[in-house]
Symmetry: C2
Subunit: 351 residues, 2 copies
């Protein structure tokens, strides 16, 4: 029998945002890796690629021509997962096993820059502010559509994250229902707010700032941290310090602060393994169902798959799929590593 | 406005086992793929590999020598995610944000065969029956340990599923808590049983057998089907027809029937893309907490990542991580494809 040491002993941590546990095995980072290595492209991309369907002036799969855009550019996804068409559906039979309902939605692609080779960490602050403006506009426009109750803004970066085109871009899937993960978060935020009259993340951020050990970056308006309950080795979350419900609540100063922390965080990511760091990221914020949502608190998740190097990722497989998410390095250790990394991009130094 | 067509229109389906929805986009299978391709090994493996740490008589990482085993062989995982040591822990402080508890557990590796090159579909029925016996013994032995309340039997197959050694093997992670996914399933099974005095899966299997459209294989004692709420393109579930709570409830005849359906299903998988088909699989069954669990119903999940070919997988990334699981082909279509595939292994035909 020994006393519990959170830095050494296997344990479970609780995620109050989705009410799920994660298994943490601090000692396991030492095991040797003989499995699959990812191929990470190291080729220098051109500023403009004539074969890229996202570059300005090029033709897309559906035959349309992109405008010669000079900042960001948004278009409807040619292979959308949802359709805008309204569907007639008789919901009077309540099946236990075959419960189904049609879903209406819109998918858009957001090109971050006309430059084929510039990812977020390499862009200038005004260019990132411009992406934030685009997200704000899309959130408003899509949210105003009567049947759209949720707008999911996200980015898949890197081929290992299923991204099929290196041209920097994200996506927006807007739909009538709250997706599963958002609904879980919604329920947690709501019950916390109903009880405490403060948002869960307002109090969580304060608690994290007090200990400091999981903070990666802090500025006047935002914090980037490794959540206590993070699943992915270098998972982080950007949270607004005040309880902004949604991206459209930001002042100009807050937008600039958000742009800055986005650039700093993604730069640290690239510097971790001197590679264009893959991840899926996305914003969780207030539903667009026309109601007030004082319980909602703007935050952006980053889920990066890499564990040991630019080519060795964490596999979320057997036990994780059937049992529960499991991690091999503590969130405190990951935060420390990220915190200590420079926020000057490694490519700038090499040049 | 048009009438809902489940084969054509985007919709959500409900999974009553874990109370979550999945987004189904039937029309989306048509989109072209320009993203990452997996490298699938096509090399013929030797029957014995002197460098393999799982082959009989070889030395493992920790210096121990494997016996010259001739059926299956079980050993403790050298890099276990949990430890057996008992940990002293003062749980009097109830944190909202930093909820943590130590977890005690045991990880074992189960080699399926002394042959380095034989996966489940290529093994003879008696050899598969022998693996089932091993699983039964481990479930009993581990389950009898006082602090072990759950025994997770699973297999990661193929390098794309994080498997680091092609020698056919699975794993067992046994622990004190019910892992997140199991706990969700437990709650659903329990509330259904409390209400209906039958298991959820008993009634579900009957309902599936009546429609037939998602059934892949059926024998006297088991059904292999694509669940109505499947997430992965070719996800399946093997369910016992009667409400067996756990693998140790099987009669000899049932064990043989289970071995047969395992061989048939994995053979169909290999025949789908003429490749050694990667997946994570695992058994969900009664907890080992010493109580009776009439609500539990033995089932085995198969989560295979491939979508279009031996090298193109489905990426569960941005929207899926932040929003909800999404699939591009209907479960009915997948079931039809699997059902029509031969259960004679393609390698046998080639020879
Ligand atoms: O134990 P292995 O085979 O080394 O590791 C594999 O399976 C484990 C259980 O699903 C995962 O946690 C690892 O990420 C994966 O690489
Ligand atoms: O829409 P894309 O970039 O073609 O596709 C990518 O992102 C989607 C949304 O996360 C996923 O459903 C796909 O599996 C992935 O390949």
């Amino acid at each position: 029998m020994k006393n519990f040491d959170i830095n050494e002993d296997p344990h479970r941590r609780f995620n109050p945002l989705i009410n799920e546990w994660v298994l943490v095995s601090p000692h396991r980072a030492k095991r040797p890796w003989q499995g699959q290595n990812e191929t990470i492209s190291t080729e220098e991309l051109p500023k403009y690629d004539p074969t890229c369907y996202l570059c300005p002036g090029n033709v897309r799969a559906n035959g349309e021509t992109n405008p010669v855009y000079d900042s960001s550019f948004v278009f409807e996804n040619d292979f959308a997962a949802m359709k805008q068409e309204e569907i007639i559906f008789e919901d009077d039979i309540k099946h236990t096993f075959f419960k189904v309902k049609p879903e209406q939605g819109i998918s858009r692609v957001v090109c971050f820059s006309p430059r084929h080779d510039l990812t977020l960490p390499e862009m200038e602050i005004p260019a990132i502010e411009n992406i934030i403006k685009t997200w704000q506009k899309e959130y408003t426009d899509l949210g105003n559509i009567k049947y759209i109750n949720h707008v999911q803004i996200f980015e898949n970066k890197g081929s290992v994250m299923g991204c099929s085109n290196p041209h920097p871009h994200g996506q927006i899937w807007a739909q009538s229902s709250l997706p599963t993960q958002v609904e879980k978060t919604h329920n947690s935020l709501k019950s916390y707010y109903d009880k405490n009259r403060r948002t869960l993340l307002e109090d969580y951020v304060q608690a994290e700032l007090r200990t400091g050990e999981r903070i990666v970056i802090e500025n006047d308006h935002f914090v980037a941290l490794v959540p206590f309950w993070a699943i992915w080795p270098y998972e982080t979350m950007i949270v607004s310090k005040r309880a902004a419900n949604k991206i459209t609540d930001f002042s100009a100063e807050e937008s600039t602060a958000f742009a800055k922390i986005l650039k700093q965080l993604t730069t640290k990511y690239d510097n971790l393994f001197n590679t264009s760091f893959p991840y899926s990221s996305g914003i969780h914020q207030s539903p667009t169902d026309g109601f007030d949502h004082p319980e909602w608190h703007f935050h952006m998740h980053f889920y990066p798959p890499l564990l040991r190097s630019a080519t060795v990722k964490k596999f979320m497989v057997g036990y994780e799929m059937l049992g529960e998410s499991q991690r091999d390095i503590t969130p405190e250790k990951s935060a420390e590593i990220l915190r200590q990394l420079s926020d000057v991009h490694y490519k700038t130094l090499v040049k």
